[in-house]
């Protein structure tokens, strides 16, 4: 049976983003949208970010670039030059979505602002991903993912009290923004389906980051409490990292309490936890420090995998604290086909990529093409789709526009 097309089959997205916005268009490319990554002739800066294949820095060997640009095509185009901007405007005529992450006001200077684009194509959706949005006193502030994590409230609550906050693994301020951007774009497509009109979406990454910290605003507005850093204790007080004989385990006191206490008591380590007051989940939260101290004393004689298996057999939501390397040996991910092989013919090799974040049986996630080499599809797009002739292409190449 043929695989049905992706959900966004037939949509064209022009991806003008740098490393800050590139996941957003990737999420759409994975669902079948034709995403054209428009790069400066020297290549997107993301190509200079490591890690690199075999540790050799090169614009076509950046694993950072690969992850965020799978399934896209690459067109090199200097948008700061009038001829380059003109080509982009031509492409925008038949595009559905333009995504950009430049400084506020920058695309307008290049003749690619919202007023200009919607004049060309009233049905176009423009998503602007900016650190602080298109308005306000911080509009022109500089930021990277760490600065956004700081100003969005994501950084403050990780780590130990009184010590330096601990930063998230991965660029999670960017990632949260990318998801919100894709969601807003899809919503705009539904609106366009009704009235035929596109819209300009102004996404603030600071705000998206603030949205991604579940409890900080809730505690502040709900209880007037400034959420502190709590070390290895989760803010809800139902989870804490504990030490086993061979590593760490995540304890959880939300599962069936009777089963847990019977187990711990059977090992002779329950101390006062057999008391009836501990049956109450709220009491367990209030006295979390003592409770987890008792569990730590008990768990230290176990190997973590044994502890995990037995806990899960009792429906206790424990987990082992693993290295990411362990994901490649994870039976669950393997059984679901999470990792996928992507061929890179120019290197004569294929590599295992992380795959679908969700399995859809009617419009599946898939690999359409490996991440593009720099400018790989420039000729295909300009000659094949815009009908420019070889002379014009040569001229633009000579001028450094493509």
């Amino acid at each position: 049976m043929a695989i049905p097309p992706g959900a966004l089959d037939g949509l064209r997205v022009l991806d003008l983003t740098d490393c800050r916005g590139q996941l957003c268009a990737r999420l759409m490319a994975d669902m079948g949208a034709d995403v054209i990554k428009v790069e400066p002739p020297a290549g997107d800066l993301a190509r200079r970010i490591g890690p690199f294949v075999d540790g050799i820095p090169h614009h076509d060997r950046s694993l950072f670039f690969w992850f965020y640009n799978l399934n896209k095509r690459s067109l090199t185009l200097d948008l700061t030059r009038p001829r380059g901007a003109e080509i982009l405007r031509t492409l925008a005529r038949s595009a559905d979505v333009v995504i950009e992450s430049s400084k506020p006001g920058r695309i307008r200077e290049m003749g690619l602002g919202w007023e200009e684009l919607r004049r060309i194509n009233p049905a176009l959706i423009l998503l602007s991903i900016a650190s602080f949005g298109q308005t306000g006193p911080y509009r022109d502030f500089e930021a990277d993912d760490t600065v956004l994590s700081a100003l969005g409230g994501m950084l403050y609550v990780n780590g130990f009290p009184g010590r330096q906050p601990v930063r998230p693994l991965g660029l999670q301020a960017y990632h949260s923004s990318a998801y919100y951007g894709a969601i807003a774009t899809l919503c705009a497509l539904f609106a366009r389906d009704r009235d035929g009109l596109g819209q300009w979406i102004d996404l603030s990454m600071q705000e998206a980051t603030a949205c991604a910290v579940e409890h900080v605003a809730g505690s502040y507005f709900g209880e007037g409490r400034i959420e502190p850093r709590r070390g290895t204790l989760h803010w809800s007080r139902y989870f804490r990292v504990g030490k086993c004989r061979d590593g760490y385990i995540m304890h959880c006191t939300l599962g069936d309490w009777t089963s847990l206490v019977e187990w711990v008591a059977g090992d002779g380590k329950a101390k006062d936890l057999t008391g009836p007051e501990w049956q109450d989940v709220g009491y367990r939260a209030v006295h979390a420090e003592h409770l987890f101290d008792v569990l730590d004393e008990w768990a230290k004689d176990y190997n973590r995998d044994d502890l995990l298996d037995r806990a899960q057999a009792l429906r206790l939501p424990f987990a082992t604290v693993r290295k990411p390397e362990a994901l490649f040996d994870d039976e669950q991910l393997a059984a679901r086909g999470y990792f996928v092989e992507v061929e890179h013919p120019e290197l004569g090799r294929s590599f295992r990529y992380p795959g679908a974040p969700y399995l859809m049986n009617g419009s599946p996630w898939r690999v359409y093409r490996r991440p593009p080499l720099i400018g790989e599809h420039t000729g295909q797009i300009l000659r094949g789709e815009l009908n420019l002739d070889s002379g014009e292409l040569a001229e633009m190449a000579a001028e450094g526009i493509i």
């Binding site: 100003l151 603030s204 705000e207 809730g218 400034i226 989760h234 604290v321 693993r322 390397e325 295992r352």
Partner: protein
């Protein structure tokens, strides 16, 4: 004037805890009619303020007893009048009610079912019980979010729930869009574990391609190289000595501006800080020098000064900073307000996008459980008042 983007789309929502409600909240913010099917009594604690107020705003709530056959009958009828049914149970639960995709698609062929279970519906660990923090532990976040040599701190909260929620909302929108294009429904089997694993992609490729063991990134830049790059302790604000400034100085031009902005101290001209490469190599000493500048200054003032020089800098903001003090979030009116039934107002987290048309918005507070019983059972499903009373009497629904 155009309506909300998802107007006319009805979602039957079985989700609970955090990840699922985040997904359906996003759909509700954008205009979908989200009907939350719940039991009574709900969990203790206020449901209209704080995190719960954030999670359930813009939704409707019905109180239906799924342990009762007539409760299941109501839910199945409602599913037939819905575009999308969403849950975050393991596979067994919806199947036991005859509300899994296979069953529902027989009576409503274009139904979309999204199931946001912890580890997915298939595979040897499909029945594992999980929460956000345990998925973070399994994925590698917890272990690699640590100070060097310290205990793994991980997130102090459930980022996995938020990421799972975003992924769920996006998957739902993709499936809805696909149905608009093709007329066909489908089943989305979303593993929250896979959703959160997907957000450390470059690290996973480094393992797969280079076989390199990952170490905690600390404050090493995870994008373009930068030094200084980190958080630096600032002067106390009143009696609050937990004030920090995040700073990222990328290329040479930025370094020159940074040095100027902090008053061109002599140490900055030392050979060991001359190029980005050596600054990265000598980052411990560099950071100590930068801290000596920040500790003398209030974080907000230091941020303003560096930003005026075009340097990326931001206060490590706590709850009061983001909710009250941040001038940018205030100027953009990011935080939303809902009016509670008692007439008071409550603040909720806003929508991070503004649009030139009508985008997501905050319209109604988190509903009391069962407050839409009359509308859903009466108007949508056609149960008369007497029939509803009978359902209450036999405990198939709660009043």
């Amino acid at each position: 004037m155009a309506g909300l983007p998802l107007e006319g789309i009805r979602v039957l929502d079985f989700t609970w805890v955090v990840a699922g409600p985040v997904a359906t909240r996003i759909l509700a913010d954008h205009g979908a009619e989200v009907i939350k099917l719940e039991r009574k009594p709900g969990p203790p604690g206020s449901r209209q303020t704080g995190l719960q107020g954030d999670l359930h705003r813009n939704k409707l709530s019905i109180a239906v007893n799924m342990a009762h056959t007539r409760g299941i009958e109501i839910a199945r009828k409602l599913a037939q009048r819905s575009d999308l049914v969403i849950d975050n149970f393991s596979a067994r639960v919806m199947r036991s009610w005859g509300m899994d995709y296979a069953s529902l698609s027989r009576v409503k062929p274009d139904i979309i079912c999204v199931s946001m279970s912890g580890l997915g519906h298939t595979g040897p660990r499909a029945n594992y019980v999980s929460y956000g923090p345990t998925l973070q532990a399994l994925s590698g976040y917890t272990l690699l979010m640590t100070e060097s040599g310290g205990e793994p701190a991980g997130y102090g909260y459930s980022y996995a729930d938020m990421a799972g929620g975003y992924t769920g909302a996006l998957a739902a929108l993709m499936a809805l869009w696909n149905r608009r294009r093709t007329g066909r429904g489908q089943f989305v089997d979303l593993s929250q574990f896979e959703a959160v694993v997907s957000l450390i992609g470059p690290s996973l490729l480094d393992i797969a391609v280079n076989g390199r063991d990952q170490s905690p990134p600390g404050y090493r830049s995870q994008e373009l190289p930068a030094a200084p790059h980190g958080v630096y302790r600032c002067r106390p604000l009143g009696d609050d000595d937990d004030r920090w400034l995040a700073i990222a100085v990328r290329g040479q031009a930025e370094w020159d501006r940074f040095v100027g902005a902090i008053g061109s101290p002599a140490w900055a001209y030392d050979a060991k800080f001359r190029t980005l490469y050596v600054r990265t190599r000598n980052s411990a000493e560099l950071d100590a020098n930068v801290s000596r500048w920040t500790i003398e200054r209030v974080a907000e003032e230091a941020m303003e000064r560096l930003q005026r020089a075009g340097i990326a800098a931001g206060v490590v903001s706590n709850g009061a900073d983001i909710c009250e003090r941040n001038p940018q979030l205030r100027a953009r009116r990011f935080w939303g307000t809902v009016r509670l039934p008692d007439g008071s107002n409550a603040n909720v987290t806003g929508v991070p996008t503004k649009t030139s048309a009508q985008g997501g918005s905050i319209r109604s507070p988190s509903p009391p459980i069962g407050s839409a019983n009359g509308f859903v059972l009466g108007e949508l499903l056609g149960y008369s008042a007497a029939e509803q009373d009978a359902l209450i009497a036999e405990k198939a629904i709660w009043p």
